[in-house]
């Protein structure tokens, strides 16, 4: 195995067995993540971002779900192993920051205890040592007067402060990989900027890799080195952030970028829209999932699913039969 690869995901598929039939929430995803890298995963609701993150963590439900493929986390296989086995890697190898800071903390437990718990159970620290470290962590994530806040309940803190506590808990055992699932959704923009800066600083400090999952293209634009674009449970484009933003080949990526309003545009700029809405995962067609909404779709698109193919730039691939012209092609025409 390449020692620079911290995470190797191969053909990962998560299917929920629902009463209406199998629902492929994640349908065969492959990517890898280098050490000390920040990777963004973007997509709209229902594109499978969160299920993908939870499957990588091994947090899928115990029943009515089928996971196939492989997740190699620092050389450890996470798919198909027992919970006891996975628990060995939670906290120390991989930790997760969930979307909703309001509900990811126990409301009737003092925040200090929630950080302590991880330290004592996972690292076997003594009570006093764990408390000292917890206060250190609270200070590290920018919580003012950490000694006093140690005894506070989550309800006494604002959303931004709670997210800092969640981050402190995730970092307690110095994980090598931090999965941040919409860490700033629901926070105000000024607080969002604070939290994103904090994550970036901590990534350097803890020598971590970060997977940043978001629906907000603005969040990933300047803070990731590579981006994965997901649609209907599959990767439709992957590449360096710059390539994906400026030289995307998949029509969906372009549509996603063009449909978000921009502060730099003048008022009343007409937005480019994608007709229709994301497909029902229970009734996926054989072809490209985006074909029904795509302006370039041909017969082939409706009948045959495109696999990821390499673009000119190394590491940049896209899944499309009729890709947009690349910058180089456009220049020669």
């Amino acid at each position: 195995m390449n020692p620079d690869k911290l995470l190797v995901v191969k053909d990962l598929a998560t299917t929920f067995n629902t009463s209406a039939g199998p629902l492929p929430a994640v349908g065969g995803v492959s990517f890898d993540l280098n050490k000390n890298e920040t990777l963004g995963i973007v997509g709209e609701s229902g594109s499978g971002k969160t299920v993908l993150a939870r499957t990588i963590m091994g947090l899928q439900p115990r029943t009515n779900v089928t996971v196939t493929g492989s997740v190699l986390l620092n050389g450890h296989e996470m798919v198909g192993v027992s919970e006891a086995e996975k628990r060995k890697y939670w906290g120390t190898e991989v930790a997760m920051v969930f979307q909703d800071p309001m509900t990811s903390l126990n409301p009737v437990m003092r925040i200090g205890k929630q950080i302590d718990e991880t330290l004592r159970v996972r690292l076997g620290m003594s009570k006093d040592a764990a408390k000292a470290r917890a206060i250190e962590l609270l200070e590290l994530v920018g919580i003012p007067s950490p000694e006093q806040r140690y005894g506070a309940f989550p309800g006494q803190l604002s959303g931004g402060m709670r997210q800092r506590v969640v981050i402190a808990t995730a970092l307690a055992c110095s994980p090598k990989l931090l999965m941040a699932d919409e860490p700033t959704t629901g926070l105000d923009v000024t607080i969002q900027a604070q939290i994103l800066n904090l994550l970036e600083d901590l990534k350097e400090q803890f020598h971590m890799s970060v997977v940043l999952i978001t629906h907000d293209l603005g969040v990933v634009a300047t803070r990731t080195s590579r981006i994965v674009v997901m649609y209907a449970g599959r990767v439709v484009e992957i590449g360096t952030t710059r390539e994906v933003f400026t030289n995307h080949r998949m029509p969906y990526t372009r549509a996603l970028l063009e449909s978000s309003p921009k502060v730099s545009n003048p008022s009343h700029t007409r937005l480019v829209t994608i007709p229709g809405r994301p497909p029902n995962l229970l009734k996926l067609s054989l072809g490209c999932s985006f074909a029904p909404r795509c302006a370039y779709a041909t017969n082939q698109c409706h009948q045959q699913r495109p696999e990821l193919q390499s673009a000119e730039e190394p590491g940049h691939s896209f899944a499309c039969w009729n890709p947009l012209p690349s910058k180089r092609e456009a220049a020669t025409q």
């Binding site: 709209e44 609701s45 604002s158 959303g159 931004g160 402060m161 105000d188 923009v189 000024t190 607080i191 969002q192 900027a193 604070q194 800066n197 629906h215 907000d216 293209l217 603005g218 969040v219 634009a221 300047t222 803070r223 952030t241 710059r242 933003f245 400026t246 549509a255 996603l256 970028l257 449909s259 978000s260 309003p261 921009k262 502060v263 730099s264 545009n265 003048p266 008022s267 009343h268 700029t269 007409r270 937005l271 480019v272 829209t273 994608i274 809405r277 994301p278």
Partner: protein, 327 residues
Amino acid sequence: MTDTTQPLLKVRDLTVTFGKGHHAVSAVAGISFDIFEGETLGLVGESGCGKSTTGKALMKIVEPSSGTIELEGVDITNQKGRSLRNIRTRMQMIFQDPISSLNPRRRVKDIVAEPLDCWKTVEGDERDVLISDLLNKVGIDPAVYGNRYARQFSGGQCQRISIARSLAMRPKMLICDEMVSALDVSVQAQILNLLEDLKNEYGLTLLFIAHDLAVVKNVSDRVAVMYLGKICEIGPSDVLYEAPAHPYTKFLLGAALEADPDSPVHGDVLEGEPPSPMNPPSGCRFRTRCPFAQERCANEEPLLRDVAPGHQVACHFPLTIQSSAVA
């Protein structure tokens, strides 16, 4: 397009206070603004700044504590009962959560027809034609979807139905409270374009309340920025975004993330969090987080004043004046 003589909606010194005594919270602490016919005023601010309460107070869903609200020259602040209901046909509101603002067990065409059936303005065939027309306008095929229940629709479609319902009485004004914030970007773009089309077609005037700066700029002619219950800056949207005069506006814009890898990063990040509205700072409410705050900011509350025609700011040391003084 803009009638500058007489505003459609005139708000003066509006306050909304919840609770009594030392538990009192002034969610809206004395704001004044005008909205002229045919324009869109954007209202931005972070959570808890009072933007939604402002919208609700204008609709009299929450009772204003003091101040006046005039719609089309009529003081509606103390209207009650039937006269208030009459006024609400002129001014409608669209809420944030499209799914919970529709009754899941009612059919789409009945939801849209409700205002018409209450007021009996049109009846019989004329009513049915009007409903079909409204649903067509918002992109919902009445023949296919008219008899379906609200619960069978996605968020974006529910928001379309909400829009159709709000337009049934042909209001002059729409108050849109975070109407696209629960939607995905691709659906958000559809709804924003739809709103723009309907605004032109029906000659609507909009108060567009949202926290997303890019969305607000896209729809608004003028923008008002709120912080802790007060308006700190109001001006034409292009001017306000280009050259913000209030330090808070500047930080807010600096924190907005642009979907562009070349956009400048790590601009100045505003430290701290907004103080509690139960115990607001003396003088300027932003002074506790403002890097330019001076003694005067603590002692004297800055009032909205003109920095340019139509551009007002509530700051003792507005940025545009500072920079021109340096230059």
